[in-house]
Amino acid sequence: MTENMSRLLRLVFIAAALLVPLFFASGYQLFQLTLVVAYALSVLGKNLVTGFGGQVSLGQGAFYAVGAYTAAILMEHFDVPYWATIPVAAITTGIVGLALGLPALRLGGLYLALVTFAMAVSVPQLLKYKLFENWTGGVQGIVLLKPDAPFGLSLDPDQWLYLFTFAVGAALFLAASNLVRSRIGLAMMAIRDQPLAAEAMGIELARYKTLTFGVGALFAGVGGALGAIAVGFVSPDSFTIALSLTLFVGMVVGGAASISGAIYGAIFIVFMPNIAEEISKAVPGAIFGLILILFMFFAPGGIASLVAAQMRRLRLTR
């Protein structure tokens, strides 16, 4: 399987992923797939921070919430069109990520995990706080209208939203892919594997770690905004620690140090609960937990590593 062939195959996959659901999937399935993209972006942000950057952060759900609420507030209170909220959500969340990253990253390791965990736990309370109620809609949250397809395209709202989200997602995935291959990506991985050596080589740990953290937040923010638009409302209890944990599971199951892993992970997050409910109506969360532990023992590199191992075997046996 040559380089060109695999690249072609990848393009075919991507085109199929876009077009097949667009024309063959039901409204609900399109909604689920749109959510897959939104979550994939958030998981991708996590992959960048943890898988490539080596920092364990448990607060991605908080950034998702920031992006979601930014989009909602802009649309609700300022009549900003949905597509314009995306870049604003991205920048806002990115800045929040940078601001939080500066102190948090001095800690690293378990302490960072602890702080981001605390962050994620306290988000719903913050969102319900009376002082911000006028903006956030308090406990009830904000309801959003699903946008119609522009330019009179003959697509219904679900189809248009999927196309839109897919396009944004694809652009960001491409950016992430380039980032990882760039000098910045190499620096991140050097910091992850051998922080002392990296520092000795002149890589400023603080700067890269903060940058990575900000980028990861940005991705989650975009995911959150897209997700909010797709779901049609935001409310504080949608963004509990459970969301951060779900994204974490997605990262691990998909494969933390991998771009494509984010996609596997997101598919897992969105579709697994349905399957889990077949097994036992009551405990999809527990099954998530069990799968998480099993992956830690048997496939710490996630599905992506299993796939990569298979591909290597295919190439070797030729």
Binding site: L110, A118, Q125, L245, G285, F288, G289, I293, F297, P300
Partner: protein, 290 residues
């Protein structure tokens, strides 16, 4: 002024519950350099076991003791099966395992016992505030219990041979093995103790906040803050930090930010401690080998 005093005393009462969980966290951190994110859920699950026993007709203190034993054993089993194999794994793996346990305990509790709030009995009586209106009977009782537990744990580590061995295994596993201490078993013992302590904390806090699967979320956060505030390498610090957090919670809630931002308060304390003095009030920096 009396209101202020009441807040402080009441804060000490809740603080001692936080202190128990902080102590459990510090014990596990000292022994394994891992943070037990699932500590709260384990305690919650133990409390449900106690409730089930009590509802089944078992008298309170018998149920209490049975729950302790079950939790102790469960802690040992967890350490041996899930955590020992991951002891040398990268942070991501062990954090993942803890989060997995968190999810499992939380969801299974919700499935087995439903998510609705349930009252949990207090063995000290639900009577009106005593001591001049400063403390409820339960607050006084639970403070006494947690204090007793903390003293017992301290005595165990300080005066018994087994406690010495557990400390040795935590501080210097290699040298411990050289003198014949079965380190793996000691770590498991430490985990069993932590689980039992958590169970006590859960049973003391449940009468106050009512029992539901998410009961320990806030408690855990405050316990984290307390452990960091006191110094995550110091058991004494854990206790002091936990009690302080109880007081801070009440003071901040009554006079500064209101009762709706309790979790944010804990977050702020955590961040402040880590930025200003990461080793906390009593902790020592752990030198890491280069």
């Amino acid at each position: 002024m009396e209101g202020f005093l009441h807040q402080i005393i009441s804060g000490i009462a809740t603080g001692s519950i936080y202190a128990s969980i902080s102590l459990a966290l510090v014990m596990i951190f000292l022994a394994t350099h891992q943070i037990n994110f699932a500590q709260g859920e384990m305690a919650m699950f133990s409390t449900y076991i106690a409730l089930t026993l009590i509802q089944g007709g078992v008298p309170y203190w018998a149920a209490f003791v049975i729950t302790l034993v079950v939790s102790f054993v469960a802690g040992i089993i967890l350490q041996r099966t899930v955590l020992e194999p991951l002891a040398r794994a990268p942070i991501l793996a062990s954090v993942g395992a803890f989060l997995g346990l968190l999810l499992i305990f939380n969801n299974i509790a919700g499935w087995m016992f439903t998510y609705s709030l349930q009252p949990f009995p207090s063995p000290f009586g639900a009577g009106a505030p005593i001591l001049g209106g400063l403390l409820s009977r339960h607050e006084l009782g639970s403070t006494a219990v947690t204090l007793l537990v903390l003293i017992a744990v301290w005595a165990f580590f300080r005066f018994t041979k087994l406690g010495l061995a557990v400390r040795g295994a935590a501080y210097n596993p290699v040298s411990s093995r050289l003198v014949g201490v079965p380190v793996a078993r000691m770590l498991a013992l430490g985990w069993g103790l932590a689980a039992a302590i958590g169970a006590i904390a859960g049973m003391m806090v449940a009468p106050i906040v009512f029992l539901d699967p998410n009961m320990m979320g806030g408690v855990l956060l405050y316990a984290f803050a307390g452990a960091l505030l006191g110094g995550i390498t110091s058991p004494l610090g854990a206790v002091v930090g936990g009690v302080l957090m109880g007081v801070i919670e009440n003071i901040a809630g009554a006079y500064i930010v209101g009762t709706e931002l309790k979790l944010t308060t804990a977050l702020v304390i955590i961040v402040v401690v880590l930025v200003v003095k990461p080793t906390g009030l009593f902790g020592k920096s752990l030198a890491s080998r280069v």
